[in-house]
């Protein structure tokens, strides 16, 4: 009743092709954006901003990146954290070595560095597929982290490769409080998410999906697999790189190469699987889920058992519950949380009169 397109006529192709063809979606999106841009900074505490909202946004961006590669172009990758590292260290070096480097440009350049590296490590995808490719991307994961630790030029010769992000300053305006950092992250993520959404709706996105569904068939109908696969690697790594730069500049402030380890790559992969492969919404839902779950587990363990639980057992219990929940979610909803929303939308169209 409330959520249906009845009465909304589309008279032009533009209207038919817009991102949110239904008015309720447009209104809903505007409300969500207004809520996160205007209401959240007013009501959220510093802890919420720093420890939950900013990482969720950053991981959403990384998950969008991986989703472009895995969900849309069908190339499984286990190296996303390494591309984040390239973005972080790239942005750091541009800020460090070029005087008066604008922050946003440095972030973009960091992302472009990641894109170049991503294309280089995407080259094997032209020959190998599936799990062979997944294991091959582990080469990127281990090699990049090793290189960043080993060649201390990248970290300006600091010990063990730790870098401290410079102050974030745009047009003389310092983004130094959690609220401002949150707003900056949100703005960048919102713009990039919109771009990504449009990209996957475009001819490029359709090429990716054709390659994903069957690359031989895609080649037969005239899609160049090399261009499709490498462009997917480039765009995906760019997104991961920007996420990495934000990770360093607006979230942690101090990062080291070892922080971008295989666990982080797996985390991002979890996000898109739990959220929904091949879905923008899924990237956000998955990121929120994976960031919130350990915090939620930790808090609920604490309230349930208090301090009576030995420290070691507590962390093991968290591992067990985390692993168990992942398996549970995969069994219950293998298509991810985004699928739940799609089902709910279908129900909503008829609600409250289902007949």
């Amino acid at each position: 009743m409330l959520y249906r397109e009845a009465g909304q006529f589309k008279a032009t192709y533009q209207e038919d092709q817009q991102i949110f063809p239904i008015r309720q979606d447009r209104v809903g999106m505007a409300v969500i954006l207004a809520f996160f841009f205007a209401a959240v900074p007013l009501i959220a505490s510093e802890y919420w901003l720093q420890a939950i909202l900013i990482p969720v946004l950053i991981f959403s961006l990384a998950a969008i990146g991986l989703n472009i590669l895995t969900g849309y172009a069908g190339q499984l990758s286990l190296g996303s954290a390494a591309f984040m590292a390239v973005g972080a260290f790239g942005a750091y070096n541009f800020m460090l070595r070029i005087d008066g480097m604008p922050f946003l440009l440095a972030v973009v350049l960091g992302g472009l560095c990641a894109a170049v590296v991503g294309v280089a490590f995407g080259l094997p995808s032209l020959r190998i597929k599936g799990f062979y490719l997944a294991v091959a991307t582990l080469a990127a994961q281990f090699f990049i982290v090793w290189a960043l630790v080993k060649f201390s030029w990248f970290s300006n010769y600091s010990s063990s490769g730790v870098i401290s992000a410079q102050e974030v300053n745009i047009l003389g305006f310092a983004f130094d409080t959690p609220i401002l950092k949150y707003l900056l992250t949100l703005a960048i993520v919102a713009v990039l998410a919109l771009l990504a959404k449009n990209l996957v709706r475009s001819a490029t996105g359709r090429r990716w999906m054709a390659v994903r569904d069957m690359d031989v068939a895609a080649e037969v109908i005239g899609i160049r697999p090399m261009r499709a696969k490498l462009s997917a690697f480039a765009v995906s790594s760019f997104y991961c790189g920007v996420a990495g730069a934000l990770y360093a500049y607006t979230y942690l402030g101090t990062v080291e190469p070892e922080g971008f380890n295989l666990d982080l790559s797996f985390k991002i992969l979890f996000m898109i699987i739990i959220g929904g492969v091949g879905s923008m919404l899924g990237s956000f839902l998955g990121a929120a889920f994976i960031v919130l779950l350990p915090i939620f587990l930790n808090v609920s363990m604490h309230t349930m058992f208090g301090d009576s639980l030995p420290a070691g057992l507590g962390s093991n219990l968290e591992l067990i519950v985390f692993g168990g929940l992942i398996i549970f979610f995969l069994i219950v909803e293998p298509h991810g949380l985004a699928r739940l929303w799609a089902l709910a939308k279908d129900k909503l169209r008829l609600w409250p009169f289902p007949h």
């Binding site: 062979y132 294991v135 091959a136 057992l313 067990i320």
Partner: protein, 308 residues
């Protein structure tokens, strides 16, 4: 030249250990198409369970901890736990996920990794424990005397054990009824089903066998470096072996293990100093990667033919 051969032999022997872990992956991938990332956690779980029982048993039975009976009892109990774990995994995790995309199954096994690691440490504690198989890690004297090379006794023992294991597995697959059924399932699920081979039964058996392989690998690795959480990273050592040899080939796992082991050690000695060392983390992957550019399905993997 003696030094070169010393490094080469050391590398080949440690390659056997990689192959042992890779073998567990291959068994499960071949039979059920699942890329079981939890194999490393299973190695850890097996070794920890074995050591745990070995410590508990003297209290229960009144025997000395060093006695042979305790060793084999602990082995039997650990093996039983691995079989139960394997069957449970098949029943609880994989059966509901039949026909899902490979990536979903892969993610489920990563979830399983966390679960198994957590359970193992919750039961047995997170301390590093020693494991003594009665073989010391010292050079064999006559080789040291005659050829002036250091070849570890333990490595040779481990390689021999791995060899026996692989040979007995090969015999099991070749000559038993269950083995024949396993090969049939590996060749073609649907054809196997249609002639009355109980698929899920076979999968449970495969997981149990993989558990057995994990136990042997866990014992050898554990005796080498102590039973500790780091054992789960053996999976990462086995992955390049896997893509080099091919996901579906048992001989591939062995040959791949030898190639990776040898080249890794040689690279560490001869290339490592040029770039500042510490390259063993990524070198095997790079090697496997360049290898794949020439042969995309690994050394012995099945050639994949795409049809539109």
């Amino acid at each position: 030249m003696g030094f070169f051969f010393e490094v080469l032999i050391g590398g080949l022997l440690s390659g056997v250990l990689y192959a042992l872990v890779a073998l567990g992956f291959v068994l499960i991938y071949k039979a059920s198409g699942v890329f079981n990332f939890a194999q490393g956690a299973m190695v850890f779980f097996a070794a920890l369970t074995f050591v745990g029982f070995k410590e508990l048993l003297p209290g229960w039975t009144g025997l000395e901890e060093s006695s042979v009976v305790v060793f084999w009892l602990a082995f039997a109990l650990a093996l039983a736990s691995m079989v139960v774990l394997g069957i449970l995994t098949e029943k609880v995790v994989l059966r509901p996920l039949v026909n899902q995309p490979h990536i979903t199954l892969f993610m489920a096994t990563i979830g399983l990794t966390f679960l198994v690691e957590g359970i193992a440490q919750a039961i047995w504690g997170a301390n590093v424990r020693g494991l003594d198989l009665g073989i010391t890690d010292e050079p064999i004297e006559w080789i040291l005397d005659s050829a002036d090379m250091i070849v570890s006794k333990f490595d040779v023992f481990a390689a021999a054990l791995a060899g026996i294991l692989v040979a007995s597995l090969a015999l099991f697959f070749q000559y038993t009824k269950v083995g024949r059924a396993l090969r049939a399932v590996a060749d073609d699920h649907q054809a196997a089903l249609s002639i009355g081979i109980p698929l899920q039964h076979i999968w449970a058996i495969v997981w149990a066998v993989a558990g057995f392989v994990a136990l042997v690998a866990g014992l050898i690795w554990g005796a080498r470096s102590g039973v500790q959480f780091a054992l789960t990273f053996t999976a990462l050592k086995a992955l390049p072996v896997l893509i080099l040899g091919g996901f579906t080939s048992v001989p591939g796992a062995i040959v791949g293990g030898l190639i990776i082991g040898a080249s890794e050690k040689l690279a560490e000695v001869y290339i490592g100093p040029m770039v500042g060392g510490g390259i063993e983390g990524w070198f095997p992957y790079m090697l496997a990667l360049f290898f794949l550019l020439v042969r995309p399905e690994g050394l012995f993997g099945e050639k994949h033919i795409d049809r539109v």
